[in-house]
């Protein structure tokens, strides 16, 4: 079977991924391959199944059908003597430790400082000595621009800072793959930029990333490939400039038009505010 053949340039390979929640069919056969070092943005209207797809890769949900491979390993399942077996919890934990995940709501551990958030998994899961883990964590916090905030608790940080700590926490396990689930959706508009900057740096540094986002500018600039999903299927995929500037499918066009209208309304409003502020300055 060619489907089980492993191509070493592929890091993630999803074949006919199906997910049902009860009678609700969220994913209806998604195929997606992500190469090593590639940055893929998943776009689509809410309810299209992009977040569910991301959560399936990290086994926050269990597959109803299809297969997902990360590296050459089947996710959540193992084949023995031609029969599929569900993986043991410890095995699932090991698979998860190789995948970093960043959540919409940050989900930092509130009873730990930023530094402790980052060192927790390396010291407790990988059993790295505390001093080494702290040195590495400080480097990561420096990379996301939060070196001086190491001893702050999450409640003492802004949303953007919390999300950057969350990225550092995920990177601390040195994952092969980073998953971002709408990382900027819960942020105040003026805090979005600092998180996207960190993500752009990661992308430029060769990290393999799958990003569910509504940030079209980020998708155009940082993604190697954009995947448009709707109603549980991949409608269209390709280089960002092709999909975003010259969409082939009606559903993609409708979605982009809606995004554009919203953005234009926003820009018009911003310009009006800016003019009003200018008038004030002149008076």
């Amino acid at each position: 079977m060619s489907e089980t053949q492993h191509n070493p340039t592929h890091l993630v390979r999803a074949v006919n991924v199906i997910k049902h929640f009860g009678s609700n069919e969220v994913l209806k056969g998604v195929d997606l391959t992500v190469d090593r070092g590639e940055v893929v943005c998943l776009l689509g209207p809410s309810g299209s199944g992009k977040t569910t797809f991301l959560r399936l890769i990290n086994q926050m949900e269990t597959l109803t059908g299809g297969r997902i491979w990360v590296d050459d390993e089947l996710i959540g399942l193992v084949e023995r003597n031609g029969k599929l077996h569900v993986r043991k919890d410890s095995d699932i934990a090991r698979q998860r430790s190789r995948i970093g995940m960043v959540f919409q709501r940050f989900n930092l551990f509130p009873h730990m400082t930023a530094l402790e958030n980052v060192t927790e998994a390396p010291t407790k899961v990988k059993k790295i000595p505390k001093a080494a883990a702290q040195a590495e964590a400080r480097q990561l916090l420096e990379m996301v621009g939060l070196a001086e905030r190491a001893s702050y608790y999450p409640a003492q940080l802004s949303g953007g800072q919390q999300q950057r700590v969350a990225i550092a926490r995920a990177l601390a396990m040195k994952p092969d793959l980073m998953l971002f689930d709408e990382p900027t959706s819960a942020l105040d508009p003026e805090l979005v930029g600092e998180v996207l900057k960190v993500m752009r740096d990661l992308a430029a540094g060769g990290t393999t990333m799958i990003v569910v986002t509504h940030e079209m500018a980020f998708a155009r600039e940082a993604a190697d490939r954009v995947v448009f999903m709707d109603a549980g299927v991949v409608v269209e995929e390709g280089p960002p400039n092709d999909v975003l500037l010259d969409p082939q499918h009606e559903r993609t066009r409708n979605f982009l038009r809606r995004v554009k209208d919203e953005r234009e309304a926003e820009i018009a409003y911003e310009e009006e505010t800016a003019r009003a502020l200018e008038d004030l300055g002149g008076a």
Binding site: R96, S97, N107, K124, V125, S151, A155, A170
Partner: protein, 324 residues
């Protein structure tokens, strides 16, 4: 004639210096309460039934002090220690994906919450009847050993260790088993509420960095649940302190209230010994309240209950260091 009000009205209003609303009812209440307190103090100090010298003498008896330390404090601490551990285990069982564990936890909680502590302790006192010494007492070994021995045509038994059930279920060990067993049922509900109060995203985030369910429970979920678990546990501890007086039903002869009652019965000074017991319970409860306040602060870290200034963080760091 210029009215002062008009002149002031042309100025912009400044600092408010208004006459507060008067509460004449408060002064009446203060007066009534003051009289009642005075009457009470007068009675306490002059009523011969109190017999204060005897109260302090009773409190000073070495057997009463021993009863307070061993029977009241030790039993409270140990019963709560095992009760909390048991309760957390029961709560985790109740929230597990294994239906058998869930059912066992539910049945345990149902059973021990249904039995009044006084009744439970009374039953504990006579539980030795189930395992009489002439049948070997309470033994540990191979289950149903006599059946297997019979099948194999052997004789003797496969019991490694036997104890006298009367010593196990009465006295100090019995007191702790009884109180802890009952407490675990209540603590299970408190711990379950605490665990459920932690956002689901916390378990997901912990698992996403490769932690197992049990590690995530221990390091991430339970420490946050403690914030919700500690206040009611403080109440439970105070309730437990007072419930040690029920050990009279077991009976545990080293318990303080038992000893004071005995002194009262011997000397016909019942009321003073009850006052002595009340004073002991007041002292112990006050100390526990201080401890509870400290614990609430400790487990409230990172939740905005502690002030967020950096100099405060240094102080809480010291506290955390001292607690370890």
């Amino acid at each position: 004639m210029t009215e002062p009000g008009v002149a002031e009205a042309q100025e912009r209003p400044g600092i408010i210096d208004a006459v507060p609303v008067r509460h004449p009812g408060r002064y009446v209440a203060i007066a009534v309460i003051a009289v009642l307190v005075l009457m009470f103090l007068h009675m306490v100090l002059t009523n011969p039934a109190f017999n204060w010298p005897f109260v302090f003498e009773a409190m000073n008896q070495s057997i009463v002090i021993e009863g307070f330390i061993k029977g009241t404090l030790m039993c409270t601490v140990l019963a709560m220690f095992f009760g909390v551990i048991g309760g957390v285990i029961l709560a985790i069982m109740r929230l597990s994906t294994n239906p058998v564990l869930r059912a066992v936890s539910w049945a345990y909680t149902w059973f021990f919450r249904a039995i009044p502590r006084l009744v439970l302790l009374t039953i504990m006192g006579v539980l030795g009847i189930l395992f009489p010494l002439n049948r070997g007492g309470l033994s540990f070994g191979v289950p149903f050993d006599w059946v297997f021995i019979d099948w194999l045509g052997l004789s003797g038994d496969w019991r490694f260790y036997s104890v006298d059930a009367n010593t196990l279920f009465s006295g100090f060990i019995g007191a702790i088993i009884g109180l802890a067993a009952s407490e675990a049922a209540y603590m299970a509900e408190i711990a379950r509420a605490g665990i459920n109060s932690v956002d689901r995203g916390q378990m997901e985030a912990a698992q996403a960095v490769g932690m197992s369910r049990s590690l995530a429970m221990r390091r991430i979920v339970l420490p946050q649940a403690m914030r919700v678990i500690v206040p009611p546990t403080g109440n439970e501890t105070i309730a437990m302190l007072k419930d040690t007086s029920l050990l009279i039903a077991l009976p545990l002869s080293t318990e303080m209230f038992f000893q004071l009652s005995q002194i009262g019965a011997r000397t016909f000074q019942l009321f003073p010994v009850f006052v002595a017991a009340t004073l002991y319970y007041l002292i112990a409860t006050s100390v526990l309240m201080v401890g509870q306040a400290y614990l609430e602060k400790r487990f409230g870290r990172g939740f905005g209950t502690t002030v967020t200034a950096t100099k405060d963080k240094a102080a809480s760091g010291l506290q955390a260091g001292a607690a370890k």
